[in-house]
């Protein structure tokens, strides 16, 4: 029973970091309408910023978190102005190829400038945990989970309680209609894409604390984020948290209870994507 509860807890804690990565991707898909294959690379930039600020200036990653988010928001906004906006009306394949290319470019720039080495961040709370009976709650993962809940709550609040949020929803529903009623669509897209990248950076900072920073660190998380937004429904922000929990807990259960489950855990997200798509098409057919 104790192992089962710890497994559920492990899955729940892991889902926090998944939700953080997926929330940004969901925003890009939901508002801008673009599937950003470079999302993992914006996470990577955040991870490297956290590492650099910690290694060279001694800044704690949690303190550098807002700076990393702002900096990557800027990188995202610039990326939008320079490239994304030009393909928004192009066929989806072109959009995907562009973001895929952007991802490769950013990854290789990191390789050229920073090398392929794994960089780790040292913090006093890295190995911290809270014991509840025999169960352990890891500190950084609990922070990630708390942040994910907070950020998703804040995003929900912005989308449903502010003018900018209403504009975002309007643009997501009908771009031309929004233009006709005077919404600056370009500005909304730029902010949404920048925030999406900023959220990836926040996840990246936590990934640097939990794992490491490296040019390829974003790939695994981006793949899982895709599974989450498919489960939640493309662009559905509110579904991101539960979909992350489903993925995190499923992986933990497979790892713990399926023989050789550690090798199967990465197949879980493919299986969930497959099951979700089949279920949706089955429901649609009815």
């Amino acid at each position: 029973m104790e192992l089962f509860l710890q497994t559920l807890l492990n899955g729940l804690l892991q889902s926090g970091i998944y939700a953080l990565v997926a929330s940004g991707l969901a925003l890009a898909v939901g508002v801008v309408g673009i599937v950003n294959f470079a999302h993992g690379e914006f996470l990577m930039i955040g991870a490297f910023l956290a590492w650099a600020l910690s290694a060279y200036l001694g800044v704690d990653p949690l303190i550098s978190l807002p700076f990393a988010a702002l900096a990557v928001f800027g990188v995202g906004a610039l990326t939008y102005r320079v490239s994304i906006r030009h393909v928004l009306l192009a066929p989806e394949l072109n959009q995907m190829l562009l973001t895929f290319g952007l991802g490769i470019l950013l990854q290789n720039l990191a390789l050229i400038w920073l090398g392929g080495n794994t960089r780790t961040v040292t913090t006093p709370y890295q190995g911290s945990s809270l014991s509840i009976g025999e169960l352990s709650v890891g500190g950084p993962k609990a922070i990630a989970f708390g942040l994910a809940v907070l950020i998703l709550g804040a995003l929900y609040g912005v989308l449903y309680r502010t003018t900018l949020g209403r504009q975002m929803r309007a643009v997501a529903q009908n771009r031309r209609g929004s233009q006709l009623i005077g919404i600056d669509v370009e500005r909304v897209y730029l902010i949404a894409f920048g925030v999406s990248c900023g959220l990836a950076a926040i996840a990246g900072v936590l990934v640097a604390v939990l794992l490491f920073a490296s040019p390829t660190v974003g790939l695994v998380f981006a793949l899982k984020a895709f599974a989450i937004i498919v489960m939640a429904g493309l662009g559905n922000l509110t579904g991101v948290l539960w979909a992350s929990v489903v993925l995190g807990v499923s992986e933990a259960l497979v790892q713990t209870y399926v023989p050789g489950g550690g090798g199967w855990s990465d197949a879980v997200f493919f299986l969930l994507i497959f099951a979700t798509l089949v279920f949706r098409s089955f429901r649609g057919a009815r």
Binding site: E2, L3, Q6, T7, N10, G11, L13, Q14, A55, L111, G115, G116, N117, T118, R119, T120, T122, P124, Q126, G127, S128, S129, S131, S136, G138, G139, P140, K141, V207, L210, L211, F212, S214, P215, T216, V220, E251, A252, Q255, T256, G260, G261, G262, G263, S265, D266
Partner: protein, 386 residues
């Protein structure tokens, strides 16, 4: 103008007919720490070789290619080296997965390979019939022999009985895992957990939970440097009460020794810069002079020894004829930072360099890697976590 022209002509003449060596290394990806270390070792060796007159009277040329720690990238890079760059010899090769992937093209082009890494037994199977394959790194069963010897010592001194094993699911971690478990059992240990994981995933929560339930004395993991910190973090967070955490990644993360989570973590290495061997001291001094620091990664001296011995064999052969160079390299008997190097048969390949006796176990103690076994080279006794 005339001077420039003359310099150009001289340069062109000097490189014409030069011996060309290709180095395939993981300069990025999961094995990049080893790859970067090996690159530095090669650069140092290259400088020394060319200062001493080069190879066959001309400066040796060395071309690097990044296999990205990925078989899919390794194959085209290898083929490009052999067919486009037209290198005379290939060196490098850290990862087992990439080495298996290039075994086909290597045999197709009959490439001369002086290989420094790739310890998994499937690599040995893949190159068993390749007559120009020289393997410097001990095969995994030699590594395991050294580990088992250390664990037997811990059974006597620390009453260690139960071992939990976590291994990555690629060829490096998985090949021979059944033999490993069987050997531990035969030696009188209880293997209380055997779990695989995806390297680089960082998701060790469930594995550590299972280990906690199994109550091991030793937590033994086989993976890459990317797994070291996430695993150590999870073990600390879940308060896994274990006597020793023992890992065998080919290299460790940069700066890992400075992290408090690394304290008492143990590992296996072919070499440490503190080795009293005179060749090792000379290597450390030369490395420090060239790069301004000291490496703890054994792939740096291994690559250094690799290129120096290959260059010496080519010079002795007096040509780049593969048979002649192979015959000379096979006769190698030289002192290295790891001890003496000679080539003899392994279980399946013809030319195997270092074997079990070269390994040592160390522990991260006070920001440093301190040798703890074998006792003849130990600086401290093992710090047991219980």
């Amino acid at each position: 103008m005339k001077k420039m022209l003359l310099t150009g002509v001289l340069l062109a003449l000097s490189s014409a007919g030069a011996v060309k060596v290709g180095a395939l290394l993981p300069l990025s990806g999961a094995g990049s720490v080893s790859g970067q270390a090996a690159r530095n070792g090669y650069l140092l060796a290259l400088e020394e070789i060319n200062k001493a007159g080069g190879v066959l009277g001309r400066p040796l040329e060395l071309e690097f290619a990044d296999d990205g720690s990925s078989p899919a990238k390794a194959v085209p890079e290898f083929v490009k080296m052999v067919t486009v760059e037209k290198v005379d010899f290939m060196v490098g090769g850290v990862s087992s997965a990439t080495s298996i992937a290039i075994s086909g093209p290597a045999k197709q082009y009959n490439t001369f390979m002086a290989w420094i890494g790739a310890a998994a037994v499937p690599v040995e199977d893949a190159f068993a019939d390749h007559k120009y394959f020289f393997h410097y790194h001990p095969w995994s069963y030699y590594n395991f022999e050294a580990i088992l010897d250390y664990f037997k010592h811990l059974r006597v001194t620390k009453k260690a009985r139960n071992i939990a094993i976590a291994y990555e699911d690629g060829p490096f971690g998985s090949a021979g895992i059944n033999d490993t478990v069987a050997a531990f059992k035969k030696a009188g240990f209880n293997v209380v957990m055997t779990e695989k994981f995806k390297t680089g995933s960082g998701n060790f929560g469930p594995i550590v939970s299972k280990a906690k339930a199994a109550k091991p004395d030793i937590f033994y993991w086989v993976g890459y440097d990317t797994d070291a910190l996430p695993l150590a973090t999870e073990i600390k967070q879940q308060n896994l009460n274990v006597g020793l955490i023992y890992g065998t990644p080919p290299s460790w993360p940069v700066g890992f020794e400075k992290n408090r989570l690394a304290d008492n973590v143990a590992g296996l290495s072919l070499w440490l810069p503190t080795s009293p061997n005179s060749q090792s001291r000379a290597f450390v001094n030369a490395y420090r002079k060239k790069f301004g620091n000291v490496t703890e990664e054994y792939f740096a001296p291994l690559a250094y020894v690799n290129l120096k011995t290959l260059a010496a064999a080519i010079n002795k052969a007096g040509s780049t004829d593969k048979d002649k160079v192979a015959a000379e390299l096979a006769k190698t008997n030289t002192q290295t930072p790891f001890g003496p190097l000679t080539f003899s048969r392994s279980n399946k390949t013809r030319y195997q360099g270092f074997k079990a006796g070269s390994w040592l176990s160390f522990q991260y103690l006070a920001d440093d890697r301190v040798p703890v076994y074998p006792l003849k080279s130990a600086k401290k006794t093992t710090v047991w976590g219980r």
